[in-house]
């Protein structure tokens, strides 16, 4: 409904000439319109409103207030482009609605003409307004005379005039807003909560979101100069929370990672499931053979696009369950998200090496590593959760990986258990903000505490991983850190921490064909320059889960390498260290609530003032 309202509104009133010529045709159309009106109840109600008003109020004033849209040349073009693009983009996002929209277009066109037929006084208004010098925004009119008139000499004068008109129109628009703000909610995107319709249509919300994004992208020209950027952002965040169902905290955290347009794309793509992908088990078969036998079973598939994986297949549709074919059970392939290939490719295991996978369940990456090594060497597959090792062991046996040792430790116990690995893969436990499409619970479950506790654990794990690698390894000395989260706290902040704590490692290129560079600075935090060598993956950019991959090489031994402290001791040390670390590096410092309270109060007052509300009056009301 919202988009339809938008369309009705954005349609410019006809010029006088046009209008007259239409009138001659209108008698025929009137008959048809009776049918159409029954379809288009909304338009009808609008008409009735107008008729009522006409009878009530002074026609000239009424006309102005009803049509706040007609703007003068200078400004006119911007909103116009804005609406068109907006309509287009919303169509592109929701293809099913396209048909409807088209119908709406046609109907509303007739409807408008209809309106003019019914309201005879309208003609007079038009003439009056013309004589007053207010131009109706219509392309033809401008191309005819205004553009010719416009030249370098009089441009200043003209624009001044236009500004003046704008002002008047704006004021009128504001007046009108108060009268029927319900109809106008789309143009006025900055509604306060209490102004919102109680059961607002989600489409309306979406339209408004897209509109605000437009404004934010071109803030200096499109925004209402009396409003601040943060006001627009606040509104947008509230809409995102409502439309996509995130907690406010998480919505804001994710929103800050992207430009507004990209953020909306990100949120949109989290609503869509990623394509199912499988990985060929090269220990048992070849990709071509597997594809052939699956096609024979009625599976529609193709190699993963982008040519960065030689073993992946993407499944479009299948007449049989892909997780229960004889090929699956005999271990010829494993269901694995495309993003999970990336850390293994980055790890680049070589034959005969000793490799540790610190958090391995359910074994997709472990078996990939094992396959890359052609069952030579040793792969230690560790997982903290004993229950999850079941599926890990099942996958290892099903895929025929004979070179694995499955153990169940807190990964921080390494290198006490055993160290000196050639390569270590740390696919760290994370908040899962990259896989919201897979697990929508993340939207609501994640709290501030998670974004402190989990990175805290990740840092310890990464240090343990670094300490467990053999820097003298002839072929390796590599640590790959990956998460399925896009939050900076779990990605860049963690590897930056590791670089600070262990000067004997350096970041190297991941060797991955796709991916975006990681941030080297984020919201005032500066990371080490080399952090840009790590790679980020987003669902909207590559159609894989949100992911992060960083590859370290250990250049020399350190005193920590024969660290014999257990996980508990490490945790205790880390807690102690955190107190100092927080102050030095602003890395989740302790919060001083009393001190913060003052600043919060102050900024609240400031923001109220900006919105034109007297903070004191608000207080008294709430009391």
């Amino acid at each position: 409904m919202g988009s339809r309202q938008l369309k009705n509104r954005q349609r410019d009133p006809p010029t006088l000439d046009e209008f007259k010529s239409r009138k001659t045709k209108s008698k025929d159309k009137k008959r048809d319109s009776n049918k159409k009106r029954s379809l288009e109840t909304e338009g009808e109600s609008k008409k009735q409103k107008k008729q009522k008003k006409d009878s009530k109020s002074d026609p000239v004033k009424e006309k102005k207030s009803k049509k706040p849209e007609p703007v003068t040349k200078e400004e006119e073009e911007l909103p116009e482009v804005d609406y068109d693009a907006l309509a287009k983009s919303s169509k592109a996002l929701f293809d099913d609605e396209e048909e409807e929209d088209k119908n709406d277009d046609i109907i509303s066109d007739d409807d408008l003409q209809d309106e003019f037929d019914l309201e005879q006084e309208y003609e007079n208004e038009e003439e009056e307004s013309d004589s007053q010098g207010i131009k109706w925004s219509d392309d033809d009119e401008y191309s005819d005379d205004d553009i010719e008139k416009l030249n370098m000499d009089n441009i200043e004068e003209l624009s001044a005039k236009l500004d003046k008109r704008d002002k008047i129109i704006e004021e009128e628009a504001e007046l009108e807003l108060k009268e029927e703000h319900l109809q106008d909610k789309i143009t006025d995107v900055l509604l306060k909560d209490e102004e919102l319709e109680e059961n607002e249509d989600l489409t309306t919300t979406r339209t408004r979101m897209l509109e605000i994004v437009k404004i934010l992208e071109n803030f200096s020209q499109l925004a209402d100069p009396t409003k601040s950027r943060s006001q627009y952002t606040d509104r947008l965040l509230k809409d995102i929370v409502k439309y996509f169902g995130y907690t406010e905290f998480l919505a804001e955290k994710l929103f800050q990672l992207f430009s507004p347009t990209e953020a909306i794309e990100f949120f949109e793509s989290n609503e869509v499931a990623r394509p199912i992908t499988i990985r060929t088990n090269t220990l048992k078969t070849k990709r071509r053979d597997l594809a052939q036998s699956l096609v024979n079973r009625g599976v529609n598939l193709q190699p993963i696009p982008g040519n960065w994986s030689k073993t992946g297949l993407q499944i479009f549709e299948s007449s049989i369950p892909v997780g229960a074919t004889p090929e699956y059970l005999s271990g010829q392939y494993i269901l694995q998200a495309a993003s999970s290939f990336l850390p293994c490719i980055a790890l680049d295991p070589q034959e005969g090496e000793r490799i540790l996978d610190m958090a391995s369940a359910p074994g997709g990456k472990t078996t990939y590593i094992s396959a890359m090594m052609k069952n030579t060497g040793v792969v230690f597959a560790n997982d903290f959760n004993a229950k999850r090792t079941k599926s890990l062991i099942a996958n290892i046996h099903r895929l025929g990986c004979t070179n694995t040792i499955v153990c169940n430790y807190d990964a921080r116990e390494f290198p006490k258990v055993i160290g000196g690995f050639d390569r270590i893969l740390l696919d760290a436990p994370c908040t899962g903000t990259g896989v919201i499409g897979k697990d929508p619970n993340v939207k609501l479950n994640r709290t501030t505490k998670d974004f402190i506790d989990i990175p805290h654990l990740q840092k310890q794990l990464l240090l343990s991983a670094i300490d467990s690698v053999d820097s003298n390894s002839k072929t390796g000395g590599v640590i790959v850190y990956s998460t399925c989260s896009v939050a900076v706290e779990e990605d860049e902040a963690v590897i930056d921490y590791a670089l600070r704590k262990r000067p004997n490692v350096k970041l190297v290129d991941t060797g991955l064909a796709i991916g975006k560079e990681a941030f080297t600075s984020y919201r005032g935090k500066k990371f080490h320059k080399s952090v840009s060598l790590a790679r980020r993956y987003y669902p909207h950019a590559y159609n894989v889960d949100g992911f992060f991959v960083a590859k370290f090489v250990k250049t020399g031994p350190s005193k920590f390498d024969d660290n014999k402290s257990s996980a508990k001791e490490k945790e205790y040390m880390a807690q102690k260290e955190l107190e100092v670390e927080g102050i030095i590096n602003d890395d989740f410092a302790e919060f001083d609530d009393d001190e913060d309270e003052k600043y919060i109060e102050k900024s609240k007052k400031d923001s109220l003032k900006k919105k034109g509300i007297n903070p004191k009056s608000k207080k008294s009301r709430s009391d």
Partner: protein
């Protein structure tokens, strides 16, 4: 984790010999060893077994390939995970038609109707490895009829009793790998 005792070794080898007969000597070589961890028997390369000694007994969940487990009564039972070791060394084989694959993977015995081909000279009541027509091993069982007798039975009669099939990876994940 420890080596098998003589008694245990005998029980394991008896079971294996059921399916691979004399080929069992291919399993015994310098590079590979049998190891007992908790109640399970693993067949694993010596190098890996040595590395596994650094993992505490409670924390070691699996190594190499699991052949099967000793039951509480002291008998040895082969698991489906041993299939990848048995299949290449199989003494007797049976191939089943595509329409028989799914019934077998759901845990049913093999009927004559699903028979594609079978090794010659399969006696009654011996271990036999089951393949599909693409030579993918699907499980193992015990023949109920000799090759000659199979010709004379009606299509709905059972020719191989199922003992283990790869469908167990889905059906018995909870108990198989605990």
């Amino acid at each position: 984790m420890r080596q098998l005792t003589e008694d245990e070794t005998q029980k394991v080898f008896e079971k294996l010999a059921n399916y691979i007969g004399k080929n069992i000597k291919n399993l015994i070589n310098k590079d590979h060893v049998f190891r007992l961890q908790k109640d399970r028997v693993y067949y694993v390369s010596k190098m890996i077994a040595n590395y596994a000694t650094s993992i505490a007994r409670d924390n070691l969940m699996s190594l190499g390939i699991c052949l099967g487990k000793f039951t509480k009564t002291g008998k040895f039972r082969l698991h489906v995970t041993s299939l990848q070791i048995l299949a290449p060394l199989a003494k007797y084989k049976i191939w089943i038609k595509p329409n028989g694959e799914m019934p077998f993977l759901y845990g049913n015995h093999i009927l004559k109707a699903h028979l594609s081909k079978v090794s010659d000279n399969v006696p009654e009541h011996v271990g036999i490895i089951v393949f599909n027509e693409k030579d993918i091993p699907l499980g193992f069982g015990v023949s109920s009829k000799s090759t000659n007798d199979i010709k004379n039975v009606d299509p709905t009669s059972i020719i191989v009793f199922r003992q283990s099939d790869i469908g167990e990876y889905l059906r018995d994940e909870d108990t198989l790998f605990a």
